[in-house]
């Protein structure tokens, strides 16, 4: 069986857990990863919770969704999670502009880890204070070719749309090569 991975990232409390929950066929599992040093000897066990969801395509193909840990102290996990990913979704809490700087930082970090395609989900569009995607694009200085999509992470159709747009972006990359 082949497994592929999409990473869902974003600032703390931007809606990553809800996003994965809305679309995963399994209850979102908060996995505990034990952190070891380079020699793979467990010297001091540190555990971190991550969100993990799954979409089974068929008997031969499964898509896993990994949500990055929200707390800043676990940001060292981002590089590990980005290994081998098809692409990533950056969830921005569009109703909290105080988190925009952090969202920008996360985008820059992930772009350094991997050239994989990504989309920005302007989450919490059901909030009255949410900035619209086109304003969020300007605020986060997102390049024109990167999609900035409206999102309500608790709404399955909305989450589906974001994931589909990421897959279309990945498809464009393949067809462009």
């Amino acid at each position: 069986m082949q497994t592929v991975k999409v990473v869902v990232t974003g600032p703390f409390s931007s809606g990553k857990t809800e996003f994965i929950s809305s679309i995963s066929e399994i209850d979102v599992v908060s996995t505990e990863r034990k952190i070891t040093d380079d020699s793979r000897e467990v010297k001091a066990e540190t555990t971190v919770a991550m969100d993990f969801g799954r979409i089974t395509v068929d008997e031969e193909l499964v898509l896993y969704l990994f949500g990055t840990p929200g707390q800043k102290r676990f940001d060292f996990m981002w590089e590990i999670l980005s290994e081998g990913m098809l692409g990533f979704v950056v969830l921005a809490d569009a109703a909290r502009p105080e988190t925009f700087r952090e969202a920008r930082m996360i985008i820059d970090r992930f772009r350094r880890y991997s050239p994989s395609p990504y989309v920005i989900a302007a989450n919490k569009q059901d909030h009255g204070d949410a900035w619209p995607p086109e304003d969020l694009r300007i605020a986060l200085k997102i390049a024109p070719h990167v999609k900035v999509l409206p999102c309500v992470a608790t709404d399955r159709e909305s989450v589906k749309n974001v994931l589909l747009e990421l897959l279309y972006s990945i498809l464009d990359t393949i067809q462009g090569e």
């Binding site: 592929v4 502009p97 772009r111 949410a130 086109e134 200085k141 393949i174």
Partner: protein
């Protein structure tokens, strides 16, 4: 949809840039301690600005700009209480006190003074309400935001903030393709023009700095201003790999076939 936040997280120059690029119409209200500023925009241009403690009628604006004397200003104010600013302006023009361009220049100068005052505000809540314009009788003078943003950027002092915005000087710049930008109308300093003349996707920012004998801080400040005004954008230098070099230990994305992605798309659609 109203935009709201705090200046701690989103500076005034960033707000102006957003309003400029999105060509917004509405009022930006900023509340700071015991002061409030209201800045009006129409289709991305500044048209009016008011701030507590700096509001003055047309007569005072004209006096401050040196168009009328203090005594004339007092007389006009005492006699014109029931008139709107527009009505007062017409009366003054017809009476030969001032010309139309005197009024435009004075209002413009006052508006800019008020706006530049707010650039020092680094804390305070803001709220942008779309489609709200000044009262009908107010005199409005449309002012392009690019120059204001450049000036606001010049007033930005924090070295750390510049490093945050532009951590990598190995990227290059190119001019943006914005149909509404009029480069002719933009006022730049000599140094800024020198940087503009070197803008080319082949030249990294570092190279531009070296050619102009500028240190990292100076080139960051100038480039930040040009970026904020939407005149330029960052690009990878020509000749650089399209795909950034992957750090050691980070694996490349798996080779993916079109068929696999199509299967994923079909499956997600059926959810």
């Amino acid at each position: 949809m109203a935009l709201r936040g705090n200046l701690r997280d989103f500076t005034i120059t960033q707000l102006f840039n957003l309003i400029n690029l999105a060509r917004k119409t509405g009022v930006l209200t900023i509340d700071r301690k015991r002061k409030q500023a209201k800045i009006y925009f129409k289709e991305g241009k500044l048209v009016c600005a008011l701030v507590d403690g700096h509001d003055m009628g047309l007569a005072n604006m004209l006096h401050r700009a040196g168009k009328i004397s203090e005594e004339e200003s007092r007389i006009i104010q005492s006699r014109a209480e029931t008139h709107t600013e527009k009505e007062l302006g017409l009366l003054l023009i017809n009476a030969g006190y001032v010309t139309q361009s005197d009024i435009v220049e004075s209002v413009r100068s006052h508006t800019l003074d008020v706006v530049y005052l707010t650039f020092n505000w680094t804390d305070g809540s803001f709220l942008f309400e779309p489609n709200k314009l000044p009262a009908d009788g107010a005199i409005t003078v449309p002012i392009n935001l690019e120059n204001i943003i450049m000036e606001g950027s010049r007033r930005v002092k924090e070295h750390e903030m510049l490093r945050d915005e532009l951590p990598d000087l190995d990227v290059a710049l190119r001019f943006t393709e914005r149909p509404h930008a009029k480069l002719r109308d933009i006022n730049l300093s000599v140094e800024e023009w020198r940087v503009i003349s070197f803008i080319n996707p082949r030249n990294s920012i570092k190279r531009v700095a070296q050619a102009n004998s500028m240190n990292d801080f100076r080139i960051r400040k100038i480039v930040y201003g040009l970026l904020s005004a939407g005149l330029v954008q960052l690009v990878l230098p020509e000749g650089a790999k399209r795909v950034p070099t992957l750090p050691e230990g980070v694996s490349a994305p798996p080779p993916v076939k079109r068929g696999l992605i199509m299967r994923l798309i079909d499956r997600v659609k059926r959810i």
